[in-house]
Amino acid sequence: MIEDLILKLKQEIIDQLQLEGMTPEEMDPEAPLFGEEGLGLDSIDVLELVVLLDKNYGIKIRGPKEGPKIFYSIKTIAEYILNQQKN
């Protein structure tokens, strides 16, 4: 199930963040979102991810302490969505 969500998320991230020229297959779900060794996202992308979670999943992120852990990788975002949906 998480695999399906990761696949969906990848496409949503490409669309929301306007990552032109990137395909879901190229995105390693466990790679860090930030930094040169990962997807290289920036602070505006985090803002877009927050909008995405609110718009597509009804999840509001308002600066929780665990924010950096949620936004570590695509996989950690997917895990957070699943947890929130369980609760």
Partner: protein, 420 residues
């Protein structure tokens, strides 16, 4: 008359996310030029200079020591083509003699009320080599509204987010800090601009987010209170250098839109811990500026300092290494002791060790500098911390109805690191 004003490129601080703010010196200087002068402004950090463009006179505005060598190259290039060059700005003042070898004229000091004469000299072929007004400050009331209309505003937009505009409410600084050259440049007498001029200029800036670049707002409590009180109705949001630690002042600052403060973190003390907490108590973020390499900085101190920064919950941290800029006490001491090993001004970017530290070798200080950036941003990355700080300003704007949404047409615009 066609006047091309150039802001030379420089290498940005290693470790820090690259961003480009609309420069302040050139727009303040442009306000001193008569209105009939046709000004073209080029920010070389974001644009390429076409040396074959027609201009009657070239102005080179330099703020940083790390800009001067490039500024001299540009000046040489134009003069080779027979176009005269005048240099000015803070870094020109710090490097006046060297700059005079590359320019037809060097302007030292504040330009208000002086440019008519300089341009008259130029038109009559009697441009002087040096215009020295370094210690002869013009009346502060003569400072006009900065000419932000010369900026290509779309260049200072990152993915639809307009960068802050820079603004100043005063000149001079009553402090005389060890590594700083402000007292040499602007004098130790605090010179506030008249409030009506401050408000008039602030109201005219087509940007809700500002960087108030005054050296420190903590100069005069009565002035500070009135400044913030005057700013409240404008609903601007801004960052600045330190604000006095006083309940009434901090409250007024918060009401006036204080977003975050650049605060020097110079030791591990309850004073600093409390200073940061007090800003936070008033909803004001803190970007710590941390200078490494002072004579009392041992390796152990630097490592403990980095841990302390995480403990006091700074929002952001900017690390620099002590850089002995000319006309500072740091330069006098280190030069006098023969400890400076690089006088290549391109190395004076604040992220390179150019002197022999007292407590360790230069390589170790360089490593500790890199380690400071890595450690501070390990658990919470720089983009995430910047997002949190950005969210703060959005929340403030949402609360008072001043929020403007992102400019969608510019969402693909990113900054590129300027080629050296």
């Amino acid at each position: 008359m066609k006047f091309t004003l150039i802001y030379p490129k420089w290498t940005k601080l290693r470790g820090q996310t690259e961003f480009h703010l609309p420069p302040h010196g050139p727009v303040v200087f442009a306000a001193t030029l008569p209105r009939d002068i046709e000004i073209t402004f080029i920010d070389e950090n974001l644009e390429t200079i076409d040396f074959n463009d027609q201009a009657d006179l070239i102005g080179i505005s330099m703020m940083l020591t790390s800009q001067v060598k490039r500024g001299w190259e540009i000046a040489d290039e134009y003069r080779k083509r027979g176009v005269p060059v005048i240099c000015g700005g803070i870094a020109t003042m710090l490097h006046a003699e060297e700059t005079s070898h590359h320019a037809d004229a060097v302007f030292l000091g504040e330009a208000e009320g002086r440019m008519e004469q300089v341009l008259d000299d130029f038109r009559n072929n009697r441009l002087r080599k040096i215009y020295d007004y370094l210690t002869d400050f013009p009346p502060i009331g003569s400072v006009g509204i900065a000419r932000r209309d010369i900026l290509k505003r779309q260049l200072y937009n990152y993915r639809g987010i307009q960068m802050v505009d820079l603004f100043h409410a005063s000149r001079g600084c009553r402090f005389d800090c060890y590594p700083c050259c402000v007292s040499y440049l602007g004098g130790r007498k605090f010179r506030p601009r008249p409030f009506e001029k401050v408000v008039e200029e602030l109201a005219a800036i087509d940007n809700n987010r500002l960087y108030i670049v005054d050296n420190s707002l903590s100069q005069d409590r009565a002035w500070e209170k009135q400044l913030f009180a005057e700013m409240i109705p404008l609903k601007k949001k801004w960052c600045c250098h330190p604000i006095d630690d006083d309940d009434e002042i901090l409250d007024l600052a918060a009401q006036a839109g204080a977003w975050f403060v650049y605060q020097a973190i110079f030791d591990i003390s309850d004073f600093i811990r409390n200073r940061v907490k007090r800003y936070h108590d008033y909803g004001i973020g803190v970007e710590g500026t941390i200078l490494l390499g002072l004579d009392h900085h041992t390796e152990d101190f630097i490592l403990r300092l980095i841990d302390f920064l995480l403990e006091i919950e700074l929002d952001l941290a900017e690390f620099t290494v002590l850089t002995p800029f000319p006309h500072t006490q740091a330069f006098a001491d280190l030069h006098g002791e023969g400890r400076i090993f690089s006088y290549d001004w391109n190395d004076y970017t604040c992220d390179k060790v150019v002197f022999q530290p007292k407590q360790m070798n230069p390589e170790r200080l360089q490593d500790l500098y890199d380690e400071a950036w890595r450690t501070f941003y390990r658990e919470k990355s720089q983009p995430y911390r910047m997002f949190e700080l950005f969210q703060k300003v959005i929340d403030k704007e949402m609360a008072d109805g001043s929020y403007r949404s992102q400019q969608r047409a510019q969402t693909n615009r990113k900054f590129g690191r300027a080629k050296q």
